[in-house]
């Protein structure tokens, strides 16, 4: 187990980077606590796989440092860092049995056979692979193969961190849920630092204690799933998490407050005048006799609730109502929960209620 620190990390794939657009990772400073379960969440191309490979040692960063327990491992090889990585598709040794697959990393390090047998049995039992130990790995289903990949990562008890790079990509949807729970269970038993890279918010939010949201090579927010949901620090986070995501409505800041059209929505102390955005989640948008005028366009039933889509001027605003609530039609007024309304400038959180009204 280890505490991992990333200091001033920047990485460019090309040989002579000129500007920020040449960098895949722009400036990363992160600390991962020992034994935590983390998720790296972000859309394709945001740099999360690059970051993962820098931590595991498969890539050496252009600038910056990687520290394991204060030891500089920026240039150390993956084998020296004592890490484990599970890839998008199962990476197993086809010609070996499941048992030999799991034993491989231990045998390469010269661990005595009796200890090898014991660890393999433990891991197999944790992953429910025990009946297949004697089988050749080649003939198994993709989810079993992926479990073997995970097992190879966990079989070494001195591993510093286990990294997962979108490991459920090739798994059938109905089995994804089982493997996700299995991963969570594994973390609670093994208590190793685990970093889970994904673009799927459900996977990230169910697995992790802390989620690192990335976009365009920058860390946008770090927080627990609840924090990310309730207090997005960036419109991207708000938009990305939640289904449907946070509403982002253009507004104007003047006289120390944010205005939409002619309506004063909330106070915005310390925010310079000019264009900005109001962010509010559909869960906190309601309807009433007075408020922002809007027109209901359609409503959809999504199971336990209804999503009502409205138009506020030109902007689409979603609201979520409980399924038995009355759905307004035609022209109506939107009411925003003041505790959950925030002002964003250039995407970043600028003002929120509770910071003075």
């Amino acid at each position: 187990m280890a505490r991992i620190s990333l200091k001033s990390l920047r990485h460019a794939y090309g040989p002579a980077p000129k500007g920020p657009q040449d960098y895949a990772l722009k400036e990363i400073n992160l600390d991962w606590q020992d034994g935590g379960a983390y998720a790296l969440l972000g859309p394709s191309g945001c740099g999360k796989t690059t970051l993962l490979n820098i931590i595991s040692g498969l890539i050496i960063p252009s600038e910056g440092q990687v520290l394991f327990n204060d030891r500089d491992v920026t240039r150390a090889s993956p084998a020296d860092r004592n890490i484990a990585q599970v890839f998008q598709f199962p990476v197993i040794y086809d010609t070996m049995t499941v048992r030999d697959n799991l034993a491989f990393p231990l045998r390469n390090r010269g661990v005595p056979e009796d200890k090898v047998a014991r660890r393999v049995a433990e891991i197999a039992e944790m992953l429910e692979l025990t009946p297949q130990l004697g089988q050749r790995a080649a003939g198994l289903t993709p989810d079993a193969k992926q479990k073997i990949s995970m097992g190879r990562g966990l079989v070494r008890d001195d591993v510093n961190v286990v990294m997962f790079d979108e490991p459920l990509t090739v798994i059938d949807p109905h089995l994804k849920w089982k493997l996700r729970s299995k991963l969570k269970e594994l973390h609670q038993r093994v208590r190793a630092t685990m970093i889970y890279v994904t673009h799927d918010q459900t996977e990230a939010l169910t697995f992790a204690d802390q989620v690192v949201v990335m976009q365009d090579g920058v860390v946008v927010q770090i927080g627990s799933p609840v924090e990310l949901f309730e207090r997005p620090a960036h419109t991207f986070v708000g938009h990305f998490i939640g289904s449907p995501g946070m509403n982002v409505i253009p507004c104007e800041v003047r006289d120390g407050a944010a205005w939409i059209g002619g309506h004063r929505v909330m106070a915005a102390p310390g925010v310079a005048a000019g264009r900005a955005e109001i962010g509010i989640r559909p869960e906190f948008v309601g309807f009433g006799p007075a408020g922002l005028p809007a027109r209901v366009v359609r409503s959809a039933d999504i199971g336990h609730s209804r999503v009502v889509e409205t138009r506020l001027g030109e902007t689409k605003v979603n609201a979520i109502l409980p399924e038995d609530a009355a759905v307004p039609e035609g022209e109506t007024h939107l009411v925003f929960d003041p505790a959950q309304t925030r002002v964003y400038r250039d995407g970043w959180l600028a003002a929120e209620t509770g910071a003075g009204r």
Partner: protein, 286 residues
Amino acid sequence: MKTWNNRAWLMVVPVLLLVAFNALVPLMTVVNYSVQETFGDNKFFWAGLRWFEEVLKSPRFHEALGRQLLFTGIILLIEIPLGVAIALAMPRRGPWVSVCLVLMALPLLIPWNVVGAMWNIFALPDIGLLGYGLNWLGFDYNYTQDPVAAWFTMILMDVWHWTSLVVLLAYAGLSSIPDAYYQAARIDGARPWAIFRFIQLPKMKRVLTIAILLRFMDSFMIYTEVSVLTGGGPGNSTTLLSIDLVKYALGQFDLGRAAAMSLIYFVLTLLVSWVFYTVMTRDEPQ
């Protein structure tokens, strides 16, 4: 998923006609000759299986077959490991790869008679680079007179000519291995030999099977290069099966014997190829 449609036969008819014309008609001719005997004058008499018996019992055939098997065996033992080794040593990416592949493919594109002629000149004892060089180093080398030297030259020529096919196939197989496998091996602390044995070799199995099968078949059928290089000599020390057959068929007028030998040769090639193929694809999961 493929759909069942018997009308697809129409699309296959041109191929069928052309190949059947070239394959079945001559084959029938050969079968025809193989069971008849002629004393010239276009008169033929039924001879039954006499020709087959004669060929199968003749020491000349056995010798040619023996030489052929020896040749093919040596070839496979050299070219396959050598080709794989070179493919492994080549860079996986980068600007030099194209250049290397093009240069390596060059011997494969030279007309076979030119290959024979090239080596004929190259190995001449007093005026060829190889011949002169070997004699200068102290070896008593003359492939036109010494059977051992002739075999050495013949084998060296084939290695020069065909190893690149194995290299190209093996390289293509290696290139198809996703990087993640090598990354996982690094993380698992695997050493180069383990990487070869557990990742590269299994993933190359398919292309290697094809390489071995092709090299076996082609070396078993080899004619032009050897014929131009040594003409089957000195004496008949390098007379392989094809050369022996052509001597019969086009040289003398032993049509019956030639035809019988042709059929035996063909069946032999098919049989051994089939055995090879079955053995090598035995435990393919598909």
